[in-house]
C-alpha cells in the first residue's frame, strides 16, 4: 500500500506526460503481481467495484469530528476525501499494524467482508496510515482517482514497455481484467500475448469529425466517398465468437444484458460496427423507444416483443478471427454486404449507400434528414479508402448533422460553475410556458456562450435574484435564451414531460420579452406529437 500511495503522489504532482509515463513504468517494473495490476486498474479506471461507499467515510467522520469543524475544513480544502485524509482523528483504541497490507490484500479483504466488517477494516487502515496513504485508499476505494493520466496514456506506457504499437495493447485490453497478470507475463517476456480468440472483446471504434463545409465538401465525390444516414440510435459494436455474443457501447461498456434478443440472434464469428435501434411494428423507432430498452437491465418478454432490438451495420472490423482494420472501407463494405446476405437475419441489415452525384445532392440529403422527426440526425460521409483506425483520424469520416432544433426558453435558475468558472453563475436551467401560463423547466445548459456573454449573464443574474435553494439561485423569469438542441425525448422525470439532448445556449435574446418565449406545444410539435 505504501508504494501505491507513493506512486499516486508522484503521478499527481508531476506535470509532464512523459515524466508520468516514466514514473508508471518504473513502478510497474519494480512491483510484483498482483499489486501492479490492481494499481494499473485503479489508475486506468477499470476497477469494476467500490471497496466501500462514500457515505461510510462520511459517517465515520461524523462520529469522530465535530460536524461544524468538519464542514469548515471541507469548505477550505474543497473536497471530502482529502479533508478526511488530512483530518482523520486516530481512534483512541487504535489497533496498531506491524505493516500496512499490500494493495491486493487490501482489495481482497474489503471484498471478503460484510458491511460492518468493511467499516472496521477501513477504520483500522485509516488509523495506521499517513495522510497521503489515506488519500490513496479513499480514492481507490470509491474509484475517484483523478491524477491527470488518461486511459490512453496508460496504454501508451504499456506499449512502450514492450516496445510495440499501442494497437496491440488496444486489441487485447478489453478482454483482460484486473489484475492483468497475463498482460504482465507477456510484457516480461514470460508468456505470449494473451489469446483473445475465444474471448469476446471490445475493439476501440473509429469516430468521425464534424464536417468543415468549406474545406471538406469540395473534396467529396461519389468515386471517393460514400454517404450514409446518421441514425439517432446508439453506436454499438456487436462482437461474437459464433458461440458467445456481446454488445458493447461506443466506449466499451457491455450492454448485452439489455439486448438478449439481439445477442441470441447472432450466428457468425466477427465484429460488426453499427447503430442500435428498436423496431416497433417493423418500423424504425425513435430514440425514445430505444431509451425504454436501454433503461432495462433485464427486459421482459413483452417489452422485447413490442420493441425488438435491431442493428444497422456500418462496418466490419473482424471476420472469422481475422482483423479487417487494415483493409480499405470499400473492401470492408463488400465483405459486410456478403456477410449480411449469407446470414439472413431480420435483426441486422446493412446501412444504405445513399446516391449522390455532387455536393448539392448531399445538401439535399441533409435537409431530408431534418424532416424525419429526429429519426435521422444527419449524413455520414466516409472516404472509401479509409482504413479502420481507432480514435478520430483526420480526413477519413465526416459527420454532417442536420441543423439543431431551436426554441426560445426562459431562464429560471442558475448555479455557480466549477473550476475556472466557480465565481460565475454559469449553469442555467430554463423552461417553456404551459397552457396555464406556468413555466416548466425543460433543460439545463452550461455552454454555448462566450466568456464575455458569461459575464453579462452573471451580472444580470446577480441583479435579478429571487429565492435561493442551497446552491441553486432562482431568478426573475425575464431573460430569454434561444436554446439549440439535437433532439428531445419524453421524460417522466421532468415535470414538463420532456428532456432535451445536448442543449446549449445558441443566443441570448436580451430583446425578447419573456411572455413571447416558446410554449411546450412547440416542443411537442418538433417531436411530431
Amino acid at each position: 500500500m505504501e508504494r501505491f500511495s507513493d506512486l499516486l503522489d508522484d503521478l499527481y504532482f508531476t506535470n509532464s506526460n512523459l515524466a508520468k509515463e516514466m514514473i508508471l513504468t518504473q513502478y510497474l517494473r519494480a512491483t510484483p503481481d498482483p499489486d501492479r495490476g490492481w494499481a494499473l486498474a485503479a489508475i486506468s479506471g477499470t476497477l469494476s467495484f467500490d471497496l466501500f461507499k462514500r457515505n461510510v467515510i462520511k459517517s465515520l467522520m461524523m462520529e469522530r469530528m465535530d460536524p461544524v469543524l468538519f464542514d469548515m475544513a471541507r469548505d477550505y480544502v474543497g473536497e471530502m476525501s482529502e479533508t478526511v485524509a488530512l483530518a482523520w482523528p486516530q481512534s483512541p483504541d487504535a489497533v496498531r499494524l506491524n505493516r500496512l497490507p499490500d494493495l491486493h490484500e487490501v482489495i481482497a479483504e474489503f471484498q471478503a467482508r460484510d458491511k460492518a466488517g468493511i467499516r472496521d477494516y477501513l477504520i483500522n487502515l485509516l488509523d495506521n496510515m499517513s495522510p497521503p496513504q489515506r488519500w490513496a485508499l479513499l480514492k481507490l476505494g470509491t474509484r475517484g482517482l483523478r491524477i491527470g493520466m488518461s486511459a490512453r496514456t496508460v496504454k501508451q506506457t504499456l506499449a512502450k514497455m514492450k516496445d510495440v504499437e499501442i494497437d496491440i495493447i488496444e486489441s487485447v485490453w478489453h478482454g483482460l481484467t484486473p489484475p492483468y497478470t497475463e498482460l504482465f507475463a507477456w510484457i516480461d517476456g514470460k508468456a505470449d500475448l494473451p489469446d483473445m480468440s475465444d474471448v469476446v472483446t471490445f475493439s476501440p471504434v473509429m469516430l468521425a469529425h464534424p464536417i468543415d463545409e468549406e474545406k471538406d465538401l469540395p473534396r467529396i465525390t461519389p468515386q471517393t466517398h460514400i454517404a450514409e444516414w446518421k441514425w439517432d440510435g446508439i453506436r454499438v459494436q456487436v462482437s461474437s465468437t459464433g458461440k458467445e455474443t456481446k454488445i458493447f457501447s461506443r466506449k466499451g461498456e457491455d450492454i448485452s444484458g439489455s439486448f438478449p434478443d439481439l445477442a441470441q440472434a447472432i450466428d457468425f464469428r466477427g465484429v460488426i460496427d453499427g447503430e442500435l435501434l428498436v423496431k416497433p411494428n417493423g418500423e424504425i423507432g425513435s430514440f425514445n423507444d430505444l431509451q425504454q430498452r436501454l433503461n432495462k437491465k433485464k427486459p421482459g418478454k413483452s417489452l422485447m416483443e413490442k420493441l425488438p432490438a435491431h442493428v444497422i451495420a456500418y462496418d466490419i472490423i473482424e471476420q472469422d478471427g481475422v482483423s479487417q482494420r487494415a483493409l480499405p472501407l470499400s473492401q470492408r463494405r463488400s465483405a459486410l454486404a456478403e456477410l449480411v446476405a449469407t446470414h439472413e437475419n431480420e435483426r441486422i441489415d446493412m446501412s444504405e449507400d445513399l446516391t449522390f452525384s455532387d455536393t448539392d445532392d448531399l445538401r439535399n440529403l441533409r435537409k431530408q434528414a431534418a424532416q424525419t422527426g429526429g429519426l435521422i440526425e444527419g449524413v455520414m460521409i466516409k472516404d472509401l479508402s479509409s482504413l479502420y483506425v481507432s480514435g478520430r483520424p483526420k480526413h477519413a469520416w465526416y459527420k454532417w448533422k442536420r441543423d439543431p432544433f431551436l426554441l426560445d426558453a426562459v431562464l429560471m435558475y442558475a448555479r455557480r460553475g466549477t473550476g475556472k468558472r466557480s465565481s460565475f453563475y454559469s449553469d442555467y436551467t430554463f423552461g417553456l410556458w404551459n397552457d396555464e401560463g406556468e413555466l416548466l423547466p425543460i433543460g439545463k445548459a452550461y455552454f454555448g456562450f462566450t466568456d464575455e456573454e458569461l459575464k453579462e449573464i452573471d451580472n444580470w443574474i446577480r441583479r435579478n435574484k429571487t429565492q435561493r435553494f442551497g446552491p441553486v439561485q432562482e431568478v426573475k423569469k425575464e431573460l430569454v435564451f434561444e436554446v439549440a438542441f439535437d433532439a428531445a425525448q419524453i421524460s417522466k422525470r421532468h415535470k414538463s414531460g420532456f428532456a432535451l439532448r445536448f442543449p446549449r445556449i445558441h443566443r441570448i435574446r436580451w430583446d425578447k420579452p419573456a411572455n413571447e418565449a416558446d410554449r411546450l406545444d412547440a416542443l411537442a410539435a418538433l417531436l411530431g406529437q
Binding site: 465535530d66 469543524l69 479533508t83 488530512l86 488519500w135
Partner: protein, 332 residues
C-alpha cells in the same frame, strides 16, 4: 488592548504590538515583514529581532532601540512591565508578555511547537489573556515531523539524480531551518542559493548556526549547468517556476510551506514536490497551547479565526476574534 487601524494597541503602555504602520512606540515579536515594519520612533524587541530588522533596513538612525533578551524584565512606565518569552517561530521570535495591575497578557505573535534546530523552543507562559494567531487553525492541518519531509526530498534526490531540485523557501527562518535539518539528516553536498537568501543566512551564522558549505548560484558560471544536477538549489518561492529557474538542467520545482498539505495549493504553485514545512503551530498545537496557558480569555488575531474560536468555545474557553487585518499569509 484595542484594535486600531495601525494594529493591536496596548493602552496602559501607549504601545502597539507588531503595528503595520509607523507608530511612536512599537513592540515587535519577530522579524517577518508582516510583523516588523520600518519608521517607528521607539522599538522593543529581542536583540536577534533588532539585528534582523537592521539587516532589512527597518531601523533608522533616529529609532530608539531597546533590546531585551528572553526573560529580561523592562519597565515601560505607568506600572507596565514588558518581557519576552521565546515563541519557537524563527530566530529571535518572541511572545510579548505585558504585566499591569496584576494582570498578565501574552501576545504570542507567530509561534510553533514543533522542534526547530535554528531557534529557541516555545515557552508556555501562564497568563490571564492569551493572544494567538490562527494561520493553520483547521483540523486538516496536522504538520508532519520535518524529518519525514526532508527524507522525502532526499529520496527524490536519489531517485532523480539528473534533476535540479529547486526548493522555494521564505528567506527568513524557513530557509535556515530546512538547511539545518538536511544537515542533521546527513546531507553533505553544498547548498546552492539565490542571492535573496544570503544576508539572513549569514546573520544566522553570526549567531552560531552552522549550515555547512553553501554557494551563491550567481557565482557559478552559467555554462556549468551540470553542477546543480541532483543538488538542492534554494530560492524564494516566486522563483521556482520563473525565468531564473530556467538556467538549471531539468529543474524539479519544490515548495516548502505549511500550505503544501493541501494538494490543490501545491498544484497552484506548479510544484512537482510539496514539502510540508511550517513555522506555525498546527491545529492540535494551537488548541493545546491555548489550554496550557490557562488563560481565561483567548483573543485571536489572524488566520482561520472562526474555526479556532468555535473549537475553543466548544472546550469551554472564552475566545474572541480581534479581526486584525494586514497579515500576509503568503510568507508562510
Amino acid at each position: 488592548m484595542q484594535v486600531r487601524p495601525q494594529g493591536l494597541y496596548y493602552v496602559p503602555a501607549d504601545a502597539y504590538i507588531d503595528p503595520h504602520d509607523a507608530v511612536g512606540r512599537a513592540i515587535i515579536t519577530h522579524g517577518h515583514a508582516d510583523h516588523a515594519r520600518d519608521g517607528h520612533g521607539e522599538v522593543f524587541a529581542t536583540p536577534e529581532t533588532l539585528e534582523i530588522m537592521r539587516t532589512r533596513y527597518y531601523l533608522k538612525d533616529e529609532t530608539q532601540e531597546t533590546g531585551l533578551a528572553y526573560g529580561t524584565r523592562h519597565d515601560l512606565g505607568n506600572g507596565v512591565t514588558l518581557w519576552f518569552a521565546s515563541a519557537g517561530h524563527i530566530l529571535g521570535s518572541a511572545q510579548a508578555v505585558l504585566e499591569y495591575n496584576g494582570t498578565r497578557i501574552v501576545a504570542a505573535g507567530d509561534y510553533k511547537r514543533h522542534p526547530d534546530p535554528t531557534c529557541t523552543p516555545f515557552e508556555v507562559v501562564p497568563c490571564d489573556v492569551f493572544i494567538t494567531e490562527a494561520t493553520f487553525a483547521l483540523p486538516v492541518f496536522q504538520h508532519p515531523p520535518l524529518e519525514a519531509e526532508v527524507e522525502k526530498l532526499l529520496r527524490s534526490l536519489r531517485a532523480l539524480p539528473h534533476r535540479t531540485h529547486i526548493v522555494g523557501v521564505y528567506a527568513l527562518g524557513k530557509c535556515q531551518r530546512l538547511m539545518k535539518t538536511l544537515r542533521l539528516a546527513g546531507y553533505e553536498e553544498p547548498f546552492y542559493m539565490h542571492g535573496a537568501l544570503k544576508r539572513l543566512t549569514e546573520l544566522y551564522e553570526g549567531y552560531g548556526q552552522d549550515f555547512g558549505a553553501w554557494e551563491l548560484v550567481s557565482e557559478i558560471p552559467r555554462a556549468d549547468k551540470h553542477v546543480f544536477q541532483g543538488k538542492i538549489v534554494l530560492c524564494p518561492p516566486a522563483q521556482i517556476n520563473d525565468r531564473w529557474s530556467r538556467r538549471f538542467a531539468d529543474p524539479l520545482p519544490t515548495v516548502a510551506s505549511g500550505w503544501m498539505q493541501i494538494r490543490a495549493r501545491a498544484r497552484q504553485k506548479r510544484a512537482e514536490m510539496a514539502l510540508v514545512v511550517s513555522d506555525h503551530a498546527d491545529w492540535g498545537d494551537l488548541i493545546r497551547t491555548c489550554e496550557e496557558t490557562g488563560a481565561d480569555n483567548i483573543w485571536i488575531t489572524h488566520g482561520r479565526v472562526e474555526a479556532l474560536q468555535y473549537a475553543l468555545e466548544q472546550r469551554g474557553m472564552k475566545a474572541k476574534a480581534l479581526n486584525l487585518i494586514g497579515r500576509d499569509e503568503s510568507v508562510e
